[in-house]
Protein backbone atom coordinates (compact mmCIF):
# COMPACT_ATOMS: atom_id res chain seq x y z
CA UNK A 1 0.00 0.00 0.00
CA UNK A 2 2.36 2.62 -1.24
CA UNK A 3 -0.20 5.35 -0.94
CA UNK A 4 -0.27 5.01 2.85
CA UNK A 5 -2.53 7.98 3.44
CA UNK A 6 -2.38 9.32 6.94
CA UNK A 7 -3.10 12.53 8.72
CA UNK A 8 -5.90 15.03 8.58
CA UNK A 9 -4.83 17.05 5.53
CA UNK A 10 -4.36 13.98 3.39
CA UNK A 11 -7.68 12.49 4.42
CA UNK A 12 -9.35 15.83 3.76
CA UNK A 13 -7.77 15.95 0.32
CA UNK A 14 -9.04 12.47 -0.37
CA UNK A 15 -12.56 13.41 0.61
CA UNK A 16 -12.34 16.45 -1.66
CA UNK A 17 -11.26 14.21 -4.54
CA UNK A 18 -14.14 11.85 -3.87
CA UNK A 19 -16.57 14.73 -3.67
CA UNK A 20 -15.21 16.13 -6.92
CA UNK A 21 -15.71 12.82 -8.66
CA UNK A 22 -19.28 12.69 -7.41
CA UNK A 23 -19.91 16.29 -8.42
CA UNK A 24 -18.43 15.80 -11.86
CA UNK A 25 -20.49 12.68 -12.30
CA UNK A 26 -23.74 14.36 -11.39
CA UNK A 27 -24.60 16.62 -14.34
CA UNK A 28 -24.39 14.20 -17.25
CA UNK A 29 -27.24 11.76 -17.59
CA UNK A 30 -24.94 9.27 -19.30
CA UNK A 31 -22.93 8.86 -16.12
CA UNK A 32 -23.98 6.04 -13.85
CA UNK A 33 -22.66 6.01 -10.33
CA UNK A 34 -22.71 3.30 -7.77
CA UNK A 35 -21.50 3.65 -4.24
CA UNK A 36 -20.81 0.52 -2.23
CA UNK A 37 -19.00 -0.25 0.93
CA UNK A 38 -18.26 -2.75 3.62
CA UNK A 39 -17.05 -2.86 7.18
CA UNK A 40 -15.77 -5.51 9.51
CA UNK A 41 -15.03 -5.29 13.20
CA UNK A 42 -13.10 -8.32 14.34
CA UNK A 43 -11.96 -9.35 17.77
CA UNK A 44 -8.92 -11.58 17.67
CA UNK A 45 -8.39 -13.43 20.90
CA UNK A 46 -5.19 -15.42 21.38
CA UNK A 47 -5.48 -17.16 24.76
CA UNK A 48 -2.32 -19.24 24.43
CA UNK A 49 0.09 -16.44 23.68
CA UNK A 50 1.04 -15.00 27.02
CA UNK A 51 2.36 -11.73 25.65
CA UNK A 52 0.02 -11.53 22.72
CA UNK A 53 -0.15 -7.78 22.95
CA UNK A 54 3.58 -7.50 22.50
CA UNK A 55 3.48 -6.48 18.88
CA UNK A 56 5.83 -9.01 17.36
CA UNK A 57 3.69 -11.91 18.59
CA UNK A 58 0.21 -11.09 17.39
CA UNK A 59 -2.44 -8.45 17.17
CA UNK A 60 -4.73 -9.46 20.01
CA UNK A 61 -7.76 -7.23 20.18
CA UNK A 62 -10.14 -5.37 17.91
CA UNK A 63 -9.32 -4.62 14.30
CA UNK A 64 -11.56 -2.54 12.12
CA UNK A 65 -11.70 -2.53 8.35
CA UNK A 66 -13.88 -0.20 6.37
CA UNK A 67 -14.01 0.35 2.64
CA UNK A 68 -16.04 2.74 0.54
CA UNK A 69 -16.09 2.36 -3.22
CA UNK A 70 -17.43 4.61 -5.92
CA UNK A 71 -17.81 3.22 -9.42
CA UNK A 72 -18.64 5.63 -12.22
CA UNK A 73 -19.57 4.53 -15.73
CA UNK A 74 -18.80 7.50 -17.97
CA UNK A 75 -19.90 5.61 -21.03
CA UNK A 76 -20.22 2.06 -22.20
CA UNK A 77 -16.45 1.97 -22.67
CA UNK A 78 -15.01 4.18 -19.97
CA UNK A 79 -15.40 3.78 -16.23
CA UNK A 80 -13.59 4.79 -13.08
CA UNK A 81 -13.29 3.22 -9.66
CA UNK A 82 -12.24 4.80 -6.41
CA UNK A 83 -11.98 2.80 -3.21
CA UNK A 84 -10.79 4.15 0.09
CA UNK A 85 -10.08 1.83 2.99
CA UNK A 86 -9.61 2.37 6.67
CA UNK A 87 -7.78 -0.37 8.52
CA UNK A 88 -4.79 -1.06 10.71
CA UNK A 89 -2.63 1.28 8.60
CA UNK A 90 -5.10 4.14 8.72
CA UNK A 91 -6.63 5.47 5.51
CA UNK A 92 -5.37 3.98 2.29
CA UNK A 93 -6.30 4.29 -1.35
CA UNK A 94 -7.04 0.77 -2.51
CA UNK A 95 -8.33 1.67 -5.97
CA UNK A 96 -8.11 4.76 -8.08
CA UNK A 97 -8.18 3.76 -11.70
CA UNK A 98 -9.75 4.21 -15.08
CA UNK A 99 -10.89 1.38 -17.30
CA UNK A 100 -11.02 1.83 -21.04
CA UNK A 101 -12.71 -1.21 -22.54
CA UNK A 102 -12.35 -1.71 -26.25
CA UNK A 103 -14.21 -5.01 -26.07
CA UNK A 104 -14.81 -7.77 -23.56
CA UNK A 105 -11.52 -9.21 -24.65
CA UNK A 106 -9.46 -6.03 -24.30
CA UNK A 107 -9.49 -3.59 -21.42
CA UNK A 108 -6.87 -1.04 -20.36
CA UNK A 109 -6.70 -0.29 -16.65
CA UNK A 110 -4.60 2.68 -15.60
CA UNK A 111 -4.04 4.04 -12.11
CA UNK A 112 -3.86 2.44 -8.71
CA UNK A 113 -5.23 -1.08 -8.26
CA UNK A 114 -4.39 -4.50 -6.92
CA UNK A 115 -2.74 -6.32 -9.81
CA UNK A 116 -4.54 -9.51 -10.73
CA UNK A 117 -2.94 -12.38 -8.87
CA UNK A 118 -4.55 -15.55 -7.53
CA UNK A 119 -8.15 -16.32 -6.75
CA UNK A 120 -8.49 -14.98 -3.23
CA UNK A 121 -8.08 -11.33 -4.18
CA UNK A 122 -10.88 -11.46 -6.71
CA UNK A 123 -13.40 -11.27 -3.89
CA UNK A 124 -11.87 -8.02 -2.71
CA UNK A 125 -13.05 -7.21 0.78
CA UNK A 126 -13.73 -8.86 4.16
CA UNK A 127 -17.50 -8.69 3.83
CA UNK A 128 -17.26 -11.10 0.91
CA UNK A 129 -15.41 -13.71 2.94
CA UNK A 130 -17.01 -16.07 5.43
CA UNK A 131 -13.98 -16.10 7.75
CA UNK A 132 -12.50 -13.05 9.47
CA UNK A 133 -8.97 -13.96 8.55
CA UNK A 134 -7.29 -14.32 5.20
CA UNK A 135 -5.73 -17.55 4.03
CA UNK A 136 -2.21 -17.78 5.41
CA UNK A 137 -0.36 -17.27 2.09
CA UNK A 138 -2.11 -13.88 1.83
CA UNK A 139 -2.26 -12.97 5.52
CA UNK A 140 -0.97 -9.73 6.92
CA UNK A 141 -1.54 -8.40 10.44
CA UNK A 142 -3.67 -11.15 11.91
CA UNK A 143 -1.03 -13.77 11.44
CA UNK A 144 0.60 -14.99 14.63
CA UNK A 145 4.38 -14.45 14.76
CA UNK A 146 4.02 -12.08 11.82
CA UNK A 147 7.32 -10.35 12.49
CA UNK A 148 9.34 -13.56 12.66
CA UNK A 149 7.89 -14.67 9.36
CA UNK A 150 7.88 -11.18 7.85
CA UNK A 151 4.27 -11.89 7.09
CA UNK A 152 3.06 -14.18 4.35
CA UNK A 153 3.97 -15.00 0.77
CA UNK A 154 1.99 -12.13 -0.70
CA UNK A 155 0.31 -9.97 1.99
CA UNK A 156 -3.03 -8.88 0.62
CA UNK A 157 -4.27 -6.43 -0.49
CA UNK A 158 -1.30 -5.07 -2.40
CA UNK A 159 -2.52 -2.06 -4.37
CA UNK A 160 0.07 -0.52 -6.61
CA UNK A 161 0.42 2.09 -9.32
CA UNK A 162 0.63 0.97 -12.92
CA UNK A 163 -1.20 -0.32 -15.94
CA UNK A 164 -2.98 -3.59 -16.58
CA UNK A 165 -4.38 -5.05 -19.76
CA UNK A 166 -7.06 -7.63 -19.16
CA UNK A 167 -10.04 -9.25 -20.77
CA UNK A 168 -12.43 -12.14 -20.93
CA UNK A 169 -13.26 -14.37 -23.85
CA UNK A 170 -16.41 -16.47 -23.85
CA UNK A 171 -16.68 -19.75 -25.68
CA UNK A 172 -20.38 -20.43 -25.78
CA UNK A 173 -22.21 -20.31 -22.48
CA UNK A 174 -20.00 -22.81 -20.71
CA UNK A 175 -16.43 -21.59 -20.94
CA UNK A 176 -14.86 -18.28 -19.92
CA UNK A 177 -11.19 -17.50 -20.39
CA UNK A 178 -9.74 -14.56 -18.43
CA UNK A 179 -6.32 -13.03 -18.74
CA UNK A 180 -4.42 -10.08 -17.29
CA UNK A 181 -0.93 -8.73 -17.81
CA UNK A 182 0.45 -5.76 -15.93
CA UNK A 183 3.36 -3.56 -15.05
CA UNK A 184 3.36 -1.94 -11.62
CA UNK A 185 5.77 -0.21 -9.27
CA UNK A 186 6.40 -3.34 -7.24
CA UNK A 187 7.56 -4.06 -3.73
CA UNK A 188 10.43 -2.15 -2.15
CA UNK A 189 13.34 -2.43 0.25
CA UNK A 190 16.46 -0.46 1.09
CA UNK A 191 19.88 -1.23 -0.31
CA UNK A 192 21.41 -4.61 0.53
CA UNK A 193 18.11 -6.14 1.64
CA UNK A 194 17.44 -9.55 3.11
CA UNK A 195 13.72 -9.63 2.24
CA UNK A 196 10.92 -7.45 0.90
CA UNK A 197 10.13 -4.51 3.17
CA UNK A 198 6.35 -4.36 3.29
CA UNK A 199 6.35 -1.29 5.52
CA UNK A 200 8.56 0.61 3.13
CA UNK A 201 6.41 -0.55 0.23
CA UNK A 202 3.46 1.38 1.61
CA UNK A 203 5.34 4.19 3.32
CA UNK A 204 4.41 7.69 2.10
CA UNK A 205 7.68 9.14 3.39
CA UNK A 206 9.54 7.63 0.46
CA UNK A 207 6.99 9.05 -1.99
CA UNK A 208 4.61 6.98 -4.03
CA UNK A 209 7.11 6.29 -6.75
CA UNK A 210 9.22 3.37 -7.79
CA UNK A 211 12.41 3.00 -5.76
CA UNK A 212 14.36 1.51 -8.65
CA UNK A 213 12.72 2.84 -11.80
CA UNK A 214 12.05 -0.67 -12.99
CA UNK A 215 8.51 -2.01 -12.99
CA UNK A 216 7.38 -5.34 -11.67
CA UNK A 217 5.58 -7.32 -14.33
CA UNK A 218 3.11 -10.15 -14.04
CA UNK A 219 -0.04 -11.76 -15.23
CA UNK A 220 -2.75 -14.29 -14.73
CA UNK A 221 -4.77 -16.63 -16.90
CA UNK A 222 -7.83 -18.53 -15.74
CA UNK A 223 -10.36 -20.83 -17.30
CA UNK A 224 -13.88 -21.11 -15.91
CA UNK A 225 -15.98 -24.06 -17.02
CA UNK A 226 -19.62 -24.57 -16.21
CA UNK A 227 -20.15 -28.11 -15.06
CA UNK A 228 -23.90 -27.89 -14.59
CA UNK A 229 -26.71 -25.46 -13.80
CA UNK A 230 -25.41 -24.91 -10.29
CA UNK A 231 -21.79 -25.89 -10.53
CA UNK A 232 -18.66 -24.52 -12.12
CA UNK A 233 -14.90 -24.68 -11.74
CA UNK A 234 -12.14 -22.13 -12.27
CA UNK A 235 -8.51 -23.06 -12.77
CA UNK A 236 -5.98 -20.25 -12.75
CA UNK A 237 -2.25 -19.59 -12.84
CA UNK A 238 -0.48 -16.37 -11.85
CA UNK A 239 3.01 -14.96 -11.82
CA UNK A 240 4.83 -11.77 -10.85
CA UNK A 241 8.49 -10.80 -11.19
CA UNK A 242 10.50 -7.73 -10.29
CA UNK A 243 13.43 -6.20 -8.51
CA UNK A 244 12.92 -4.61 -5.13
CA UNK A 245 16.12 -2.84 -4.09
CA UNK A 246 17.26 0.56 -5.41
CA UNK A 247 20.20 -1.03 -7.28
CA UNK A 248 18.01 -3.59 -9.08
CA UNK A 249 20.21 -6.41 -7.85
CA UNK A 250 17.70 -8.37 -5.81
CA UNK A 251 14.66 -10.01 -7.32
CA UNK A 252 11.42 -11.62 -6.30
CA UNK A 253 9.39 -14.10 -8.27
CA UNK A 254 5.92 -15.01 -7.09
CA UNK A 255 3.93 -17.69 -8.82
CA UNK A 256 0.88 -19.71 -8.01
CA UNK A 257 -2.04 -21.82 -9.13
CA UNK A 258 -5.61 -21.94 -7.93
CA UNK A 259 -8.68 -24.09 -8.31
CA UNK A 260 -12.14 -22.96 -7.22
CA UNK A 261 -15.14 -25.23 -7.52
CA UNK A 262 -18.76 -24.70 -6.80
CA UNK A 263 -21.31 -27.46 -6.44
CA UNK A 264 -24.68 -25.94 -5.64
CA UNK A 265 -24.25 -24.56 -2.10
CA UNK A 266 -20.75 -25.91 -1.59
CA UNK A 267 -17.62 -23.93 -2.39
CA UNK A 268 -14.23 -25.58 -2.49
CA UNK A 269 -11.10 -23.50 -2.98
CA UNK A 270 -7.52 -24.65 -3.23
CA UNK A 271 -4.61 -22.33 -3.89
CA UNK A 272 -0.84 -22.59 -3.85
CA UNK A 273 1.69 -19.79 -4.21
CA UNK A 274 5.41 -19.44 -3.69
CA UNK A 275 7.88 -16.58 -3.57
CA UNK A 276 11.55 -16.88 -4.49
CA UNK A 277 13.40 -13.91 -3.01
CA UNK A 278 17.09 -13.21 -3.50
CA UNK A 279 19.01 -11.34 -0.79
CA UNK A 280 22.28 -9.52 -0.38
CA UNK A 281 25.10 -11.68 1.01
CA UNK A 282 27.83 -9.02 1.21
CA UNK A 283 27.87 -9.13 5.02
CA UNK A 284 27.80 -12.81 5.88
CA UNK A 285 27.80 -12.15 9.62
CA UNK A 286 24.16 -11.13 9.33
CA UNK A 287 23.09 -14.70 8.71
CA UNK A 288 22.26 -17.54 11.03
CA UNK A 289 23.83 -20.17 8.78
CA UNK A 290 26.93 -20.30 6.60
CA UNK A 291 26.14 -18.72 3.26
CA UNK A 292 26.52 -21.34 0.58
CA UNK A 293 28.61 -20.34 -2.41
CA UNK A 294 26.18 -21.99 -4.77
CA UNK A 295 22.51 -20.97 -4.57
CA UNK A 296 22.97 -19.50 -1.13
CA UNK A 297 21.55 -16.09 -1.96
CA UNK A 298 17.81 -16.71 -1.93
CA UNK A 299 15.03 -18.23 0.10
CA UNK A 300 11.75 -19.78 -0.88
CA UNK A 301 8.46 -19.19 0.88
CA UNK A 302 5.67 -21.56 -0.06
CA UNK A 303 2.06 -21.17 0.99
CA UNK A 304 -1.15 -23.03 0.35
CA UNK A 305 -4.70 -23.34 1.58
CA UNK A 306 -7.71 -25.53 1.03
CA UNK A 307 -11.11 -24.47 2.25
CA UNK A 308 -14.67 -25.60 2.05
CA UNK A 309 -17.74 -23.45 2.58
CA UNK A 310 -21.04 -25.18 3.08
CA UNK A 311 -24.35 -23.36 3.38
CA UNK A 312 -26.30 -25.29 5.98
CA UNK A 313 -29.33 -23.00 5.83
CA UNK A 314 -29.94 -19.76 3.91
CA UNK A 315 -28.61 -17.91 6.95
CA UNK A 316 -25.84 -20.16 8.21
CA UNK A 317 -22.57 -21.18 6.58
CA UNK A 318 -20.03 -23.62 7.93
CA UNK A 319 -16.41 -23.14 6.88
CA UNK A 320 -13.36 -25.31 7.27
CA UNK A 321 -9.87 -24.38 6.17
CA UNK A 322 -6.39 -25.83 6.34
CA UNK A 323 -3.54 -23.55 5.38
CA UNK A 324 0.15 -23.29 5.91
CA UNK A 325 3.51 -21.92 4.90
CA UNK A 326 6.95 -23.39 4.49
CA UNK A 327 10.12 -21.32 4.34
CA UNK A 328 13.45 -22.71 3.29
CA UNK A 329 16.73 -20.80 3.06
CA UNK A 330 19.17 -18.81 5.11
CA UNK A 331 17.83 -16.24 7.53
CA UNK A 332 18.90 -13.38 9.77
CA UNK A 333 21.00 -14.41 12.76
CA UNK A 334 18.51 -13.06 15.29
CA UNK A 335 15.51 -14.80 13.78
CA UNK A 336 13.57 -17.45 15.68
CA UNK A 337 13.05 -19.31 12.43
CA UNK A 338 15.36 -22.07 11.20
CA UNK A 339 16.71 -22.87 7.75
CA UNK A 340 13.51 -24.85 7.23
CA UNK A 341 10.47 -23.57 9.08
CA UNK A 342 6.82 -24.29 8.68
CA UNK A 343 3.46 -23.32 10.10
CA UNK A 344 0.16 -25.12 9.74
CA UNK A 345 -3.19 -23.73 10.74
CA UNK A 346 -6.53 -25.49 11.08
CA UNK A 347 -9.63 -23.32 11.11
CA UNK A 348 -13.29 -24.02 11.63
CA UNK A 349 -15.85 -21.27 11.57
CA UNK A 350 -19.39 -20.16 10.97
CA UNK A 351 -21.00 -17.15 9.37
CA UNK A 352 -24.56 -16.22 10.22
CA UNK A 353 -26.69 -13.63 8.43
CA UNK A 354 -28.56 -11.73 11.11
CA UNK A 355 -29.96 -9.22 8.65
CA UNK A 356 -29.60 -8.54 4.98
CA UNK A 357 -26.07 -7.30 4.51
CA UNK A 358 -24.97 -8.07 8.04
CA UNK A 359 -23.19 -11.20 9.22
CA UNK A 360 -21.60 -12.40 12.40
CA UNK A 361 -18.58 -14.63 11.98
CA UNK A 362 -16.93 -16.93 14.47
CA UNK A 363 -13.87 -19.02 13.96
CA UNK A 364 -11.28 -20.91 15.93
CA UNK A 365 -7.77 -21.53 14.68
CA UNK A 366 -5.21 -24.03 15.83
CA UNK A 367 -1.66 -23.02 14.91
CA UNK A 368 1.18 -25.52 14.72
CA UNK A 369 4.63 -23.97 14.30
CA UNK A 370 7.75 -25.99 13.57
CA UNK A 371 9.80 -23.65 15.77
CA UNK A 372 9.26 -23.23 19.47
CA UNK A 373 8.73 -19.75 20.81
CA UNK A 374 11.84 -18.61 22.66
CA UNK A 375 10.08 -17.36 25.78
CA UNK A 376 7.37 -19.96 26.32
CA UNK A 377 8.83 -22.92 24.47
CA UNK A 378 5.42 -23.30 22.87
CA UNK A 379 4.84 -24.35 19.29
CA UNK A 380 1.05 -24.71 19.41
CA UNK A 381 -1.20 -21.68 19.61
CA UNK A 382 -4.90 -21.08 19.62
CA UNK A 383 -6.67 -18.11 18.07
CA UNK A 384 -10.33 -17.15 18.09
CA UNK A 385 -12.16 -14.60 16.00
CA UNK A 386 -15.53 -12.97 16.52
CA UNK A 387 -16.56 -10.45 13.91
CA UNK A 388 -19.44 -8.43 12.61
CA UNK A 389 -19.26 -7.71 8.90
CA UNK A 390 -21.62 -5.69 6.81
CA UNK A 391 -21.87 -4.56 3.22
CA UNK A 392 -23.99 -2.05 1.40
Amino acid sequence: MVFGLRGGPVVAALIVVLAAVVALAAPARALERNFAGSAQLDYHFVPTTKDAKVFPRAIDGFTMEFAGKLAVDFSEKVSANTKVCYGCHGFEADMMYFDFRVADELNFRVGRFSPTFGAFNLRHDPANHRLSDKPLPYDMGRMLRLRQWNMSVLPSPFPDNGIEIDGAKYFGDSVQLDYAVYGVTGFKADSRPLDLDFKLSRNPLTYYVDNNARPTVGGRAALTVRLGDASDATLGASGMFGTYDPENKQTYLIYGADLSMRFDKTNIRVEYLARRTTFDTTDRTLFKYVVAEDRGDFFMKHGAYAEIEQALTPELDLIGRVDGMYRVGNIEAASELARRSSVLRYTIGTAYAIERGLRVKFSTELWDFSDREIVSGRNIDLGMHAALAGSF
Binding site: N34, A36, D104, A168, A230, V360, I380
Partner: protein, 161 residues
Protein backbone atom coordinates in the same frame (compact mmCIF):
# COMPACT_ATOMS: atom_id res chain seq x y z
CA UNK B 1 6.80 -29.59 27.23
CA UNK B 2 4.54 -26.58 27.47
CA UNK B 3 1.65 -26.64 29.90
CA UNK B 4 -1.78 -27.18 28.34
CA UNK B 5 -3.38 -24.11 26.87
CA UNK B 6 -6.19 -24.07 29.38
CA UNK B 7 -3.81 -23.65 32.30
CA UNK B 8 -2.50 -20.46 30.75
CA UNK B 9 -5.92 -18.84 30.51
CA UNK B 10 -5.95 -15.83 32.75
CA UNK B 11 -9.08 -14.61 34.46
CA UNK B 12 -9.31 -11.77 31.99
CA UNK B 13 -9.01 -14.18 29.09
CA UNK B 14 -11.82 -16.31 30.43
CA UNK B 15 -13.98 -13.24 30.86
CA UNK B 16 -13.21 -12.08 27.35
CA UNK B 17 -14.04 -15.46 25.87
CA UNK B 18 -17.25 -15.67 27.87
CA UNK B 19 -18.24 -12.18 26.83
CA UNK B 20 -17.62 -12.98 23.17
CA UNK B 21 -19.72 -16.13 23.31
CA UNK B 22 -22.47 -14.37 25.24
CA UNK B 23 -22.47 -11.50 22.76
CA UNK B 24 -22.66 -13.93 19.88
CA UNK B 25 -25.56 -15.85 21.37
CA UNK B 26 -27.29 -12.59 22.20
CA UNK B 27 -26.94 -11.18 18.73
CA UNK B 28 -28.22 -14.34 17.12
CA UNK B 29 -31.05 -14.76 19.61
CA UNK B 30 -32.24 -11.19 19.31
CA UNK B 31 -32.18 -11.10 15.55
CA UNK B 32 -34.86 -12.21 13.22
CA UNK B 33 -32.53 -14.23 11.06
CA UNK B 34 -32.89 -13.49 7.36
CA UNK B 35 -31.32 -14.81 4.30
CA UNK B 36 -29.21 -12.23 2.51
CA UNK B 37 -31.25 -12.63 -0.62
CA UNK B 38 -34.97 -12.60 -1.21
CA UNK B 39 -37.45 -15.29 -0.32
CA UNK B 40 -37.71 -16.95 -3.73
CA UNK B 41 -41.25 -18.13 -2.98
CA UNK B 42 -42.34 -14.52 -2.84
CA UNK B 43 -40.79 -13.53 -6.13
CA UNK B 44 -43.32 -13.55 -9.00
CA UNK B 45 -43.30 -16.79 -10.90
CA UNK B 46 -42.28 -15.27 -14.19
CA UNK B 47 -39.00 -13.96 -12.75
CA UNK B 48 -38.40 -16.58 -10.10
CA UNK B 49 -36.03 -18.66 -12.18
CA UNK B 50 -34.22 -15.46 -13.18
CA UNK B 51 -33.85 -14.63 -9.50
CA UNK B 52 -32.38 -18.08 -8.92
CA UNK B 53 -29.78 -17.43 -11.62
CA UNK B 54 -28.93 -14.10 -10.00
CA UNK B 55 -28.73 -15.65 -6.53
CA UNK B 56 -26.48 -18.46 -7.65
CA UNK B 57 -24.13 -16.58 -9.96
CA UNK B 58 -23.67 -13.42 -7.96
CA UNK B 59 -23.20 -15.06 -4.56
CA UNK B 60 -20.06 -16.69 -5.93
CA UNK B 61 -18.07 -13.54 -5.19
CA UNK B 62 -20.12 -11.30 -2.92
CA UNK B 63 -23.10 -11.04 -0.65
CA UNK B 64 -26.46 -10.73 -2.42
CA UNK B 65 -27.19 -7.86 -0.10
CA UNK B 66 -24.78 -5.64 -2.02
CA UNK B 67 -26.79 -5.39 -5.26
CA UNK B 68 -30.13 -5.69 -3.48
CA UNK B 69 -29.38 -2.71 -1.28
CA UNK B 70 -27.68 -0.66 -3.99
CA UNK B 71 -30.87 1.32 -4.47
CA UNK B 72 -30.58 1.34 -8.26
CA UNK B 73 -33.91 2.06 -9.89
CA UNK B 74 -32.67 2.82 -13.38
CA UNK B 75 -32.76 -0.12 -15.80
CA UNK B 76 -29.86 1.20 -17.85
CA UNK B 77 -27.70 1.47 -14.77
CA UNK B 78 -28.41 -2.18 -14.03
CA UNK B 79 -27.26 -3.04 -17.55
CA UNK B 80 -23.91 -1.36 -16.91
CA UNK B 81 -23.67 -2.82 -13.42
CA UNK B 82 -24.33 -6.40 -14.48
CA UNK B 83 -22.06 -5.99 -17.50
CA UNK B 84 -19.26 -4.95 -15.19
CA UNK B 85 -19.89 -7.96 -12.99
CA UNK B 86 -20.04 -10.38 -15.90
CA UNK B 87 -16.58 -9.29 -16.98
CA UNK B 88 -15.05 -9.96 -13.57
CA UNK B 89 -12.45 -12.72 -13.83
CA UNK B 90 -14.01 -16.10 -13.15
CA UNK B 91 -17.50 -14.66 -12.75
CA UNK B 92 -19.01 -17.59 -14.62
CA UNK B 93 -21.76 -15.24 -15.82
CA UNK B 94 -22.55 -16.00 -19.44
CA UNK B 95 -24.39 -13.71 -21.83
CA UNK B 96 -27.51 -15.79 -21.30
CA UNK B 97 -27.12 -15.45 -17.52
CA UNK B 98 -26.73 -11.72 -17.95
CA UNK B 99 -30.04 -11.48 -19.77
CA UNK B 100 -31.79 -13.43 -17.05
CA UNK B 101 -30.16 -11.48 -14.23
CA UNK B 102 -31.19 -8.24 -15.91
CA UNK B 103 -34.75 -9.52 -16.29
CA UNK B 104 -34.85 -10.05 -12.55
CA UNK B 105 -33.39 -6.60 -11.88
CA UNK B 106 -35.91 -4.88 -14.12
CA UNK B 107 -38.62 -6.38 -11.97
CA UNK B 108 -36.71 -5.47 -8.81
CA UNK B 109 -36.09 -1.90 -9.96
CA UNK B 110 -39.79 -1.51 -10.77
CA UNK B 111 -40.52 -2.68 -7.24
CA UNK B 112 -38.20 -0.06 -5.82
CA UNK B 113 -39.76 2.64 -7.96
CA UNK B 114 -43.21 1.68 -6.74
CA UNK B 115 -42.05 1.82 -3.17
CA UNK B 116 -40.45 5.20 -3.72
CA UNK B 117 -43.58 6.49 -5.35
CA UNK B 118 -45.68 5.18 -2.51
CA UNK B 119 -43.41 6.94 -0.07
CA UNK B 120 -43.81 10.19 -1.90
CA UNK B 121 -47.54 9.67 -1.98
CA UNK B 122 -47.51 9.95 -5.72
CA UNK B 123 -48.86 7.65 -8.35
CA UNK B 124 -46.74 4.68 -9.36
CA UNK B 125 -44.45 5.46 -12.30
CA UNK B 126 -45.78 4.28 -15.60
CA UNK B 127 -42.38 2.95 -16.58
CA UNK B 128 -42.85 -0.09 -14.41
CA UNK B 129 -42.60 -3.11 -16.67
CA UNK B 130 -45.10 -5.15 -14.73
CA UNK B 131 -47.41 -4.72 -11.81
CA UNK B 132 -46.22 -6.41 -8.68
CA UNK B 133 -47.57 -6.19 -5.17
CA UNK B 134 -46.18 -3.56 -2.89
CA UNK B 135 -44.69 -3.98 0.60
CA UNK B 136 -41.13 -4.76 -0.29
CA UNK B 137 -39.52 -7.12 -2.66
CA UNK B 138 -39.08 -9.93 -0.22
CA UNK B 139 -42.33 -9.44 1.56
CA UNK B 140 -44.55 -9.38 -1.48
CA UNK B 141 -46.94 -12.27 -2.02
CA UNK B 142 -46.67 -14.12 -5.32
CA UNK B 143 -47.88 -11.97 -8.19
CA UNK B 144 -49.83 -13.31 -11.09
CA UNK B 145 -47.63 -14.21 -13.99
CA UNK B 146 -47.35 -11.42 -16.48
CA UNK B 147 -45.77 -11.12 -19.85
CA UNK B 148 -41.99 -11.37 -19.61
CA UNK B 149 -40.22 -8.05 -19.86
CA UNK B 150 -38.70 -6.98 -23.12
CA UNK B 151 -35.22 -8.10 -24.07
CA UNK B 152 -33.46 -5.00 -22.80
CA UNK B 153 -30.70 -7.05 -21.28
CA UNK B 154 -29.58 -8.71 -24.46
CA UNK B 155 -26.00 -8.81 -25.52
CA UNK B 156 -26.47 -6.12 -28.10
CA UNK B 157 -27.88 -3.70 -25.59
CA UNK B 158 -25.78 -4.80 -22.72
CA UNK B 159 -23.55 -1.83 -22.14
CA UNK B 160 -20.21 -2.45 -23.71
CA UNK B 161 -20.80 -6.17 -24.01
Amino acid sequence: MSPPASSRFSGAARWTASALVAAAVGVVACSGARTEGLDARKVPENVRSDYEVFAHRCSKCHSLARPLTAGITDDQQWVMYVNRMRRQPGSGISYEDQERILRFFRWYAAELRLKEAAKRGAAAPSAAPERVPDAGADAAPPAPASAPPSDAGSRTTGGDG
